[in-house]
């Protein structure tokens, strides 16, 4: 298992993708730090869930700004808030980074059919599954930590203490997000073992979060279902809520939900892979 992980690391470091991913994280961090506001993907309202600004007028003006410079001037005049925590609240953005990593570590093996070489003479399916899953967890953990701490220090340097929390707060927020983040990774690993080819995996994985949210939104509004509880634990919302002074009970529930996802998706992924014919 260790050898397979070492070999994959050798291959990943030889390629360009990991460096592109790091560059994107750095670029997004810089844009967020300079603009003094986090970027986000998906349906969660960034201003509602991640920025602690209660001034309605201010939010209105913010919405009308059309340049980073204007936004920055506006935000600076506001007096400060914990921008680094707000960025952590939009960590669902990393979903797309995770997709890239799953493709590099796993789907390329299926697409290039190089998995045949590995399974036919080096390693069992059991070890293959777990070494790939563990490697994805390790790399993505590194990327989450890199994203969070790189932004913390960049923000501190560019915007000063008024817009920063503390290292311990960043650590706490990072840790309580991890079970859900590992749940997301497990979902992607499951998709990769179910759909195998890069193209099929991308077709499912890339729009999944948005399609899922739209579906829930459509169903709840169509049938007038009250789904506040559900929205609270929808992954993108949950990640945002976890950096916004959550209660102990909420943290525990999110952790349990994360563990549930980890177990569920890994079981499905493992059994899908165990019996499949490698073509």
């Amino acid at each position: 298992m260790i050898n397979l992980m070492k070999a994959d690391l050798y291959r990943i470091l030889k390629g360009k993708a990991i460096y592109v991913v790091l560059f994107i994280i750095i670029a997004l961090s810089l844009v967020s730090a300079i603009g003094l506001t986090p970027g986000h993907v998906g349906m969660t309202s960034m201003t509602e869930s991640t920025i602690n600004i209660n001034d309605e007028e201010m939010l209105g003006i913010m919405a009308e700004t059309n340049s980073l410079k204007d936004l920055r001037t506006l935000m600076k005049s506001h007096g400060g808030y914990e921008l680094d925590q707000a960025v952590l609240g939009t960590n669902m953005n990393l979903y797309y980074v995770f997709i890239v990593m799953v493709v590099i570590v796993l789907c390329t093996d299926f697409s290039n059919k190089s998995i045949k070489n590995t399974l036919s003479s080096a390693i069992s399916r059991n070890k293959y599954y777990w070494s790939k899953a563990i490697l994805i967890f390790l790399i993505c953990t590194f990327l989450v930590l890199f994203n969070n701490y790189f932004f913390y220090f960049t923000n501190l340097l560019i915007n000063g203490k008024n817009f920063a929390s503390s290292l311990s707060d960043i650590f706490k927020s990072t840790m309580i997000q991890f079970p859900l983040i590992y749940g997301i990774m497990s979902l992607l690993i499951c998709f990769a073992f179910l759909f195998r080819r890069t193209s099929s995996f991308n077709t499912i994985a890339i729009p999944f979060v948005m399609v899922f949210q739209l579906l829930i939104l459509g169903v709840t509004s169509l049938f007038r279902i009250r789904a506040d509880w559900f929205y609270q634990y929808e992954i993108q919302n949950a990640l945002a809520n976890l950096v916004n002074h959550p209660t102990g009970e909420y943290i525990l529930n999110c952790a349990l939900l994360g563990f549930f996802y980890i177990v569920l998706f890994n079981i499905i992924g493992y059994y899908a892979f165990k019996n499949v014919e490698i073509k």
Binding site: N3, L4, K6, A7, Y10, R11, K14, G15, T108, N112, K113, S114, K116, N117, T118, L119, S120, S121, A122, I123, S124, R125, K127, N275, E277, I278
Partner: protein, 304 residues
């Protein structure tokens, strides 16, 4: 008796109602170069995939190096494989691809990569990316991968596809050298019968997922040896004459118009007289030796 390297017991692989492999039982012994012959879809690749665990059998089992499925993972490490087309990472060079698998297999001595590349004649293009390789070069890299960690048993599926004549000849020598000098057992499949004949010591003919013939090179030589072809419209009567009049059973009915007689090779007139004596119409009678292709076709036809 030589050690058994691979023994399959009624290995079967079914896809819904279609049996890709049907109760295949073969034994490969140490030092064999075992040639798998069969048409497209005969089950050659399926058999190799089952042995290398790329797919699971519907029923049956197999032993590797005398041990069953309990020790499969350890024993798989003693195998080198090239199944179907050679598949590697397109953006890595030949050397980097082999280094990836060396790390994966826990090989410490990286000179083995150079050794393998040299053995298949790819040492000059070691830094060329796999995506820029020709089909022949890809095939050679696949073989270099198969022999990377000095395996005891190599499984090669159509390894000479896409190679030029010199490449084929070089590889033939490589296989023989690996077999003779390093005592490596080889399971090899090919459509090019003459090439398989030139390299293999034992043969297995597969048709519709079943083993229709398993024979040694010596036995194959006898099967392809000289014979008298008798063409007649009454095969049944002709065989009775051969048995009663000429006292021989050393013949083979090819189809409803043809018999091959392996005796009386210099006495065609005697055969002719015996047949005409019993009012059998002879449409043709001549001496011939059959080619490998003809032999293969006749065996396959018989199986159907």
């Amino acid at each position: 008796m030589k050690d058994v390297i691979l023994k399959t017991n009624n290995l079967t692989k079914k896809y819904k109602n279609f049996a890709a492999l049907d109760n295949v039982s073969i034994t490969i012994r140490k030092g064999d170069i075992y040639g798998l012959i069969g048409r497209n879809g005969a089950g050659k690749t399926t058999l190799m995939k089952l042995i290398t665990t790329l797919t699971n059998p519907t029923s049956g089992e197999f032993e590797l190096f005398g041990e069953g499925s309990n020790h499969l993972t350890e024993n798989k490490r003693r195998i080198g494989c090239l199944i179907e087309n050679p598949s590697f990472f397109p953006n890595l060079t030949a050397y980097e691809n082999l280094k990836y698998y060396s790390i994966q297999k826990g090989i410490v001595d990286m000179t083995q990569i150079e050794e393998s590349l040299e053995l298949v004649g790819l040492e000059d293009v070691r830094n060329k990316k796999f995506k820029n390789f020709s089909l022949g070069m890809k095939q050679r890299l696949g073989i270099a991968f198969a022999i990377l960690d000095h395996p005891d048993f190599i499984i090669l599926d159509e390894p000479i596809n896409g190679l030029d004549p010199i490449g084929i000849s070089d590889l033939r020598e490589t296989f023989k050298r690996l077999n003779e000098e390093k005592n490596i057992t080889i399971l090899i499949s090919s459509h090019i019968l003459s090439e398989l004949y030139a390299v293999a010591s034992r043969f297995c003919i597969l048709e519709h997922g079943r083993v229709v013939k398993e024979l040694t090179k010596e036995e194959l030589d006898i099967e392809c040896s000289k014979c008298i072809v008798i063409q007649t419209d009454d095969v049944k009567k002709a065989t009775t004459v051969l048995e009663k009049e000429l006292k021989t059973t050393n013949y083979k009915v090819i189809d409803k118009r043809e018999i091959r007689l392996y005796e009386y090779l210099d006495q065609t007139s005697k055969v002719s007289k015996a047949l005409t004596k019993h009012d059998i119409d002879i449409l043709g009678l001549y001496e011939t030796g059959i080619t490998l292709e003809e032999y293969f076709k006749s065996v396959v036809k018989e199986a159907n």
